[in-house]
């Protein structure tokens, strides 16, 4: 009987000492995790998703026990409205003061009752600098992936994101609409724009465009800034005869602000709060930029960030957008189920035609 009791105690102690983190692929440096583990004397168990919807689907199917999630704004909104999150005890988060005020009070969580900004990415265009220069193409406009006059030179060398929301959003910005406009007529116009450009694209791609850019198969890709940062670094490391660049199209783009939230089914909320505060410390937060190329909402992180990131270049403006660029970035909002179905049919049509 005693050994059973001991086993239970050990199990309980084990649970309290383990943080279950459910995060994006490749969205935290191993060094940060190791440091946190040493500091708290605990273990961090990591699980990954590559899409907000994938995470929401897993939670909706009953996955439980995750202490901490790092969803994007619209997914935070869905999680809050479905009452899956635990309100934050801010007295436990002294480093909250480090955050830049422009990233607080976002639409999905006024007053930041549930969420703490972690990092952000921008959905933009990544490209092969040498190829685009040789073809005499601009690099700062969505026209590149939508206008046949440019695409004719890039046929079969372009991929776009395999994501309903992101691709429609790019088309909406190019047409001069808000990414959150839900008017069916405007969505139809976006669909027509996409269908006109589609014959020139190689594929809808959500995962392998980093590699395709890096090896030179693809010259232009619609994707996330942190992925483009990685493609650029990989091409450099492999000693390719070309370079990868990326820039935010002048028509505006989608900003994805990812936030740390506590899931209700997590068993170690205390530890999760400690982790949030740890990630808010300047040095730890700076690794999100230095190693992964994420945009950083943390003021205290700035002095630890590699000075290279602050030199004037299109790449850097995509990681730290200036005020006027920031004004042209929009965060996606969640759609209700009827709107999702309309968009779903539109997307199926886009895929089939």
């Amino acid at each position: 009987m005693r050994w059973l009791l001991l086993l239970c105690l050990a199990g309980a102690a084990h649970a309290a000492d383990t943080l279950y983190l459910y995060n994006w692929n490749n969205y935290i440096s191993d060094a940060s995790v190791a440091r946190f583990e040493a500091q708290c004397g605990c273990r961090v168990v990591r699980d990954y998703y590559s899409d907000n919807e994938e995470m929401l689907a897993k939670l909706a199917a009953g996955a439980s026990g995750y202490d901490l999630l790092v969803p994007t704004g619209n997914a935070v909104e869905a999680l809050i409205r479905s009452r899956q999150l635990r309100p934050l005890d801010k007295s436990r988060l002294p480093s909250l003061k480090n955050l830049k005020p422009e990233f607080l009070n976002a639409f999905f969580d006024p007053g930041n009752r549930y969420s703490v900004p972690y990092a952000y990415t921008v959905t933009l265009l990544g490209y092969n600098i040498e190829k685009l220069a040789a073809l005499n193409l601009p690099t700062d406009t969505w026209a590149l992936i939508f206008e046949p006059r440019y695409l004719a030179k890039l046929k079969g060398r372009v991929t776009v994101l395999d994501s309903q929301r992101e691709l429609i959003a790019a088309a909406m910005r190019y047409l001069g609409y808000s990414v959150n406009d839900r008017d069916a007529a405007k969505w139809n116009r976006a669909r027509d724009l996409i269908l006109r450009a589609k014959p020139y694209w190689a594929a809808f791609n959500a995962s392998s465009y980093i590699k395709e850019l890096t090896v030179g198969n693809i010259w232009l890709a619609h994707g996330y800034s942190s992925d483009m940062f990685q493609a650029r670094a990989d091409a450099k490391k492999a000693g390719r005869p070309f370079h990868i660049g990326y820039s935010i199209p002048k028509e505006g783009a989608v900003l994805a602000l990812d936030s740390m939230v506590l899931h209700k089914t997590g068993r170690s909320p205390e530890l999760a709060l400690r982790f949030i505060d740890f990630m808010l410390e300047g040095r730890n937060s700076s690794e999100l930029t230095n190693l992964i190329g994420s945009g950083n909402p943390n003021r205290a992180a700035m002095r630890y960030i590699d000075p290279e990131f602050f030199q004037a270049s299109a790449d850097n403006r995509a990681i730290f957008p200036d005020a006027s660029t920031l004004g042209r970035l929009e965060m996606l909002r969640d759609l209700d189920r009827r709107q999702r179905r309309i968009l779903n049919r539109l997307w199926t049509e886009i895929k089939l035609r």
Binding site: D162, Q164, K198, S208, L343, R345
Partner: protein, 298 residues
């Protein structure tokens, strides 16, 4: 009497576990899917409740999902396209697998096990890795595409892209499912009595007649088994079109996957799954009926 009862008990004991397993892990989930196809989608994913939650949220049953399916020919079109791809893959697999299976069946007995092992050897590495390997083989910088485009260029044709195309999808489908065609064919061909062919030859049949009138009809059970093992998985496959496909290669598997992992519409995903299952069952029924008609006719 006692031994009969004992036998019945043994039979029950032997069949109960698999029956229970099928009930618990096949029939019950299938019924849940049928039920889900008549529910409303939950606002944040999952399903809306069946019973009234008392806060004005949607609940209960609806025909909306099946109506949505028929509201646009699009969805039917994806089904038709998927059936065409599955039929093409099955046919190519059959044409490629038959000679291989025949050669293995005809090779000396001591070599056969080794040859069969070679057929299943690719399963030793992960399915996704093998499909990714095709990305490299078909890529524009690989020898294959360069040679082909060199030849095309010499004749003044536009270069073609092998990767991200319906061709790449077909290659992937055939490659992955080929062993499932070879194995049942081999098992069947191995059992053929060589004396039948000798007899046919003695009666004056040439090589083609010996194949077409003796070997082929006898191998039909293997052909049907192999075809089912290729056709049905290809129909539901989503990973290969995702990885190797281009901008027009969405198949029914991708559409169903999107409903669950992309757009939070489980009821519509369930509806699509049910329609797919019904199509496959109808096809299997048709094949069985055709087989029966053949036999009674003969």
């Amino acid at each position: 009497m006692a031994s009969q009862r004992g036998e019945r008990l043994t039979r029950l004991g032997a069949t109960a576990p698999p029956t229970l397993f099928l009930l618990a892990f096949f029939l019950v989930p299938a019924l849940i899917v049928v039920l889900a196809s008549f529910q409303f989608p939950g606002e944040f994913g999952g399903l809306a409740p069946l019973a009234d939650p008392g806060d004005g949220r949607e609940h209960g049953l609806t025909l909306e999902n099946i109506q949505f399916f028929f509201s646009d020919f699009l969805f039917t079109e994806i089904f038709l396209r998927s059936f065409v791809v599955a039929a093409e893959s099955t046919l190519i697999c059959l044409v490629m697998a038959y000679p291989v299976a025949w050669l293995i069946a005809k090779s000396p007995k001591q070599h056969r096990d080794f040859l069969v092992l070679l057929v299943i050897l690719p399963f030793a590495s992960n399915f996704l890795i093998r499909v990714y390997a095709w990305m490299i083989i078909l890529g524009p910088q690989a020898a294959l595409a360069r040679t082909l485009n060199g030849v095309l260029g010499a004749f003044g044709f536009e270069p073609v892209s092998l990767l991200f195309s319906p061709f790449a999808v077909l290659v992937g489908m055939v490659y992955v499912h080929l062993p499932f065609m070879i194995l049942p064919l081999y098992t069947n061909l191995e059992k053929h009595d060589p004396l039948l062919l000798d007899a046919a030859q003695d009666l004056g049949a040439n090589a083609w007649q010996r194949f077409w009138r003796v070997t082929w009809p006898l191998s039909l059970p293997g052909v049907f088994a192999g075809s089912a093992l290729v056709f049905i998985p290809v129909l539901g496959m989503f990973a290969i079109p995702d990885i190797l496909g281009g901008t027009r290669d969405m198949l029914i598997g991708n559409l169903i996957k999107d409903q669950f992992l992309g757009v939070r519409d489980w009821p519509f995903g369930a509806t699509l799954s049910i329609v797919l299952t019904l199509c496959v069952l109808a096809l299997a029924g048709l094949a069985a009926w055709a087989g029966k008609a053949r036999r009674t006719h003969a």
